[in-house]
């Protein structure tokens, strides 16, 4: 289940798979997949089981089947680390790419991509430095405001802590829309997230299992918090 927001005059759908769908332009936006992170750990002698890449690609497949995007934009940190570059991961990504040959795909480079490098040419991904303008929006990795466009970015891996009556507490990944910048949750599973505290006027949408829900700020300090 997804939810809609209007940002800079554009209607965007927030997907529970932790992605944004821009129907008017048929663009799917995905931030921080960190492909090859588990492989980088393994290469450096830490045991992390395989399966995270395949799982992330399968989640992308679900989105592609449902939305039929014309283009997929990755908002940075497509690859995690140089040590994570390995034939297995690239083969899986290339096979996935080939299955969706009709879809344009582009990586707006992030800080990790700079060190990890672009994926090999045969994978078939355009790579650019951000921010890149796209209508009234700008796509970037770093959530820095841009002069004349609303920025959609990643990098932060945001999540919020929610509190409720009877000392209820829950920590959930979120979409965070400020006055000039909107931040997407990290798409990758093995990425973790960072707690953010929204400012007055920010819109927060949390991913609660298969739903995306808007949440408000607590007006006073929560009981027991």
């Amino acid at each position: 289940m997804s939810a809609s927001v209007i940002i800079a005059g554009e209607t965007l759908e927030l997907c529970a798979e932790r992605a944004v769908w821009w129907p008017r332009r048929r663009i799917l936006l995905v931030a921080d997949p960190h492909f090859g992170k588990a492989a980088a750990f393994r290469a450096l002698g830490v045991r992390v089981p395989r399966g995270t890449t395949g799982d992330a690609l399968a989640r992308l497949d679900v989105l592609v089947a449902r939305l039929a995007p014309a283009r997929i934009e990755f908002l940075g940190d497509f690859l995690h680390a140089r040590e994570g570059r390995n034939p297995g991961t690239f083969a899986a990504i290339a096979a996935w790419r080939a299955r969706h040959a009709g879809i344009e795909m582009r990586i707006v480079r992030g800080n990790h991509d700079r060190r990890a490098g672009d994926p090999p040419a045969e994978v078939g991904m355009a790579c650019v430095d951000g921010p890149v303008r796209e209508g009234s929006l700008a796509l970037a990795h770093h959530p820095a405001p841009c002069d004349d466009a609303y920025v959609l970015a990643g990098h932060v891996h945001p999540c919020v802590v929610l509190v409720g009556r009877a000392r209820q507490r829950e920590r959930l990944p979120c979409f965070l829309f400020g006055a000039e910048v909107g931040v997407l949750p990290a798409f990758g599973d093995f990425t973790g997230c960072a707690e953010v505290e929204p400012n007055e006027g920010d819109e927060v949408w949390v991913v609660a299992a298969d739903q995306v829900m808007r949440v408000g700020r607590a007006s006073t300090r929560a009981p027991g918090a």
Partner: protein, 827 residues
């Protein structure tokens, strides 16, 4: 028969006579035996263990032991190679131990070198030691394990004759103890001539302590347990508050007792004030100083996060009697002998008989001195615990140390250690590992799994491409990758804490260290107290917290992770007995007399539970619906019970609980009314179906996930925060929670996950106690009351902030009623 006379002569020269047990230990050691000595602190255990190896060397070399007046400096190269390893649990004790060991060596003019090797050892000394070890080395379990990673480990220990493990009761029953067991097994293989002697306080299971120390199995020798000097008489009393507050405030400071504490300190010559946490140490130091500003300079504080120089200064000042009072944590529980101390205060409940005995023993070292310990309750109900602990001392109910069963994370770490230290043949190492008590029951499957986990190949590595850690060379497992070797050496150990950040003055002086999570909450200009000093936070740079002195105003106190001690089983039992008496109207002793009004109030509003009853109070407040349940079994058992009770009720209706537990009971808080009657009818506390319900409830409360934090670190999945670590280290950072989720999803059969569950059950929840508690509760008469207000027994639970949760509601339904927390903004 080796001649004991040099020892006897040395004792006589110092005006002493060797005690019976000391002679017994010398004789047993010289006769080739290993063993365990238990005695009170400060009764000569050190000399009992030390003289055996000295006498042996003198007999071997014919050294007469007559010192020349001028002690010649012993040349490193001329001294005998490593003969004695002395293992101490606290590196703070190492220097002190060397001092006691050095006395006879100097007096007899033996050409031995004595040195320490701990995390505090300076690089220059490390370099000298890596060329040649001293004749006797005082070290910690971690530093010993580090020695075992050296490729020439076998040669290092070639001449080793004695391994002495000091304060063995402190190590036993912890993963550090298991790490020590593995190291001792390694030494038994590398140095067959070496004998092992443990020094311990008296505990409830000395046989198990001996087995863990000396190993088990067909080749193990069962050495003697030598009983030393018994505890001198101990007096336990309490400072009784002049007015028993109606509502005891739990867990917090309880500094209302400061005037009485100050009066007690003023009466004595020299006092140690023990607290249960480092934060409390800082709080009480400030409170005492505020009451008596004229004591500035004569009182001090001591805890494990202070800079070593500060700790050394405090310890020396304590010894020479120039301090009136030290406020300390368990950092002063052990070893160091402070003869001038004549009074010990214990802030808050001691939570166990053995622990209070240990602390009491820090006083009264003067001839004819009586050990006296005075408990200072921080809430009224703690008076009951004081009365119970005295009952325990009178009846000799000293707690046993629980054992840790075959932790695979420690084993995985050990395999890498041995692979570095010259490598191993699998079958040989397996036999060695199984000779320890901790791994005696290790299954073949678990062994194979651990081997495979550290990357030696194997079938199931299919899920782990690109991964390899150990290699095989001619049938031996070795580790040659230098980067991995470096990382392993840096992460040896089983003590898990948050990354520590050094606190330093802008002008240069180092104060100690605080946890990263505390630093995250600081903003420039903010004031906080640390090392007893008001400080202003300036900035964080180069992995340091830079501060300047602040005028003495209010400020935050850092908190350190670390579990609160639970009430011991013995004490819980004694507590229930005291409550039963109160329920019958019997109030014995000054503590109970003082508590009488409060307990009468408890009875009037609700009930006082008898030993065969289970009291449940249900209260409705603005916060929601509270259920207070009082099994009186200690916090560890209560955490498990809370999860179980919440889980069972949440199966009946969709509901969410926030739970808290303390030593007296549990609180379940929910936004909707919980189905208590239906749940009781369905067998809320029944031991039936426990085998399914318990793991399910622990999962629901995410308890295994928290336990995984420690396991991930020990097994080498997560690295401790390293200053100036390069890009590689940063890319290898992921939280243990993330690892837990990824394993659970992609490798659910991972045995480290199984270990996390097992540890929660056995260690965290003390499964045997939990089972026994459920047996007791299932036949108990359930008394449900509905007090209008929160009762004295329930109040401490209400204010406890650490909570677990269990929910059977749909996440989206819960979220509809929640809001984003703004904790930092609100302060």
């Amino acid at each position: 028969m080796t001649d004991l006379s040099p020892a006897i002569r040395w004792f006589e020269q110092n005006g002493w006579t060797p005690l019976e047990f000391q002679r017994a230990v010398w004789g047993a050691y010289l006769g080739g035996e290993s063993g365990l000595v238990h005695a009170a602190t400060g009764t000569g255990k050190t000399l009992a263990a030390w003289w055996g190896p000295l006498l042996e060397w003198m007999a071997e070399t014919g050294h007469a032991g007559t010192a020349s007046e001028a002690r010649p400096r012993v040349k490193r190269a001329a001294a005998p190679p490593l003969r004695v390893l002395w293992i101490t649990p606290l590196r703070a004790l190492a220097a002190d131990t060397i001092e006691s060991l050095a006395a006879p060596v100097h007096d007899l003019g033996l050409p031995w070198t004595l040195e320490t090797r701990t995390g505090d050892t300076k690089p220059g000394m490390r370099a000298r030691q890596s060329k040649r070890l001293p004749t006797a080395l005082v070290t910690t379990p971690e530093s010993l394990t580090l020695l075992l990673t050296r490729p020439e480990a076998r040669e290092l220990f070639g001449e080793l004759r004695a391994v002495v493990v000091d304060e063995w009761h402190e190590l036993m029953g912890t993963k550090r103890g298991v790490q020590t067991e593995l190291a001792l097994a390694r030494i038994r293989t590398l140095a067959p001539r070496a004998r092992t002697w443990g020094l311990s306080a008296t505990i409830g299971n000395l046989d198990a302590a001996r087995d863990a120390l000396l190993g088990v199995g067909p080749t193990a020798k069962r050495g003697p347990i030598v009983r030393g000097v018994e505890r001198k008489s101990v007096v336990v009393d309490a400072l009784i508050p002049p007015v028993i507050e109606r509502f005891p405030w739990a867990g917090h400071l309880g500094t209302t007792m400061v005037p009485q504490v100050v009066a007690a300190i003023a009466e004595a010559e020299s006092t140690i004030v023990f607290t249960n946490t480092r934060s409390q140490t800082e709080i009480w130091y400030q409170a005492i100083l505020a009451e008596r500003p004229d004591w500035a300079g004569t009182i001090a504080l001591h805890h494990g996060s202070l800079d070593r120089k500060t700790r050394d200064w405090v310890e020396n000042a304590m010894r020479d009697g120039s301090l009136r009072c030290v406020v300390a944590t368990s950092s002063l529980d052990l070893g160091v002998d402070f003869t001038p101390v004549d009074r010990v205060l214990q802030i808050g409940s001691p939570k166990g008989v053995a622990r209070l005995l240990q602390r009491a023993g820090r006083s009264g070292h003067r001839p004819g001195g009586v050990s006296r310990v005075t408990c200072v309750p921080t809430n009224a109900l703690e008076l009951l615990e004081v009365a119970a602990v005295r009952d325990g001392m009178e009846s000799g109910a000293i707690e046993a140390r629980l054992q840790v069963e075959r932790p695979l994370d420690v084993l995985a770490q050990h395999l890498v250690t041995v692979a570095l230290g010259g490598g191993f043949v699998a079958s040989e190492l397996l036999a060695e590992v199984r000779s320890t008590r901790a791994y005696a029951a290790l299954t073949d499957e678990e062994w194979e799994w651990a081997l495979e986990f550290v990357g030696s190949g194997g079938e199931s590595l299919r899920s782990y491409p690109e991964y390899a850690r150990l290699e095989r060379e001619n049938g031996r497992y070795v580790l040659t990758d230098r980067e991995q070797a470096r990382r392993h050496r840096m992460s040896i150990g089983t003590i898990v804490s948050d990354a520590q950040i050094v606190v330093q003055y802008l002008r240069g002086g180092v104060l100690g260290s605080v946890e990263e999570s505390f630093v995250a909450r600081l903003t420039p200009g903010m004031r906080f107290f640390f090392a007893g000093t008001p400080l202003e936070f300036v900035r964080v740079r180069d992995m340091r917290v830079w501060v300047r002195r602040a005028p003495n105003t209010k400020g935050a106190i850092p908190r350190w992770m670390g579990s609160r001690l639970p009430l011991s089983d013995e004490l819980a039992h004694l507590l229930r007995r005291r409550l039963q008496e109160a329920a019958e109207g019997v109030y014995r002793g000054p503590e109970l007399e003082a508590l009488r009004p409060l307990l009468e109030l408890q009875r009037k509003w609700s009930a006082i539970p008898r030993a065969d009853e289970l009291l449940i109070e249900r209260v409705h407040s603005r916060d929601g619906w509270h259920l207070f349940v009082f099994p009186l079994e200690g916090r560890l058992v209560h955490e498990g019970l809370a999860a179980l009770v919440a889980y069972r009720m949440s199966r009946l209706v969709p509901i969410s609980f926030a739970m808290s537990s303390n030593d007296w009971g549990i609180e379940l808080l929910s936004p909707d009314e919980p189905p208590l009657e239906a749940a009781l009818e369905a067998g809320l506390l029944s031991p039936d179906r426990l085998i399914d319900d318990l793991p399910a409830s622990l999962n629901a409360a995410e308890m295994a996930k928290r336990q995984f934090r420690e396991i991930a670190r020990v097994a080498g999945l997560v690295f401790p925060g390293l200053p100036r670590s390069g890009k590689t280290a940063r890319q290898l950072q992921a939280s243990s929670g993330l690892f837990f989720d990824v394993f659970q999803r992609y490798d659910p059969d991972n045995l480290l996950l199984a270990q996390a569950h097992r540890e929660v059950l056995e260690r965290q929840l003390e499964r045997s106690r939990l089972g026994a508690a459920l047996q007791r509760l299932s036949v108990a008469r359930v008394v449900v009351t509905a007090p209008k207000r929160v009762t004295p027994m329930a109040f401490p639970l209400l204010v406890d902030r650490t909570r677990n949760k269990v929910s059977s509601e749909k996440l989206a339904d819960r979220i509809k009623r929640m809001q984003v927390a703004l904790e930092r903004a609100a302060g």
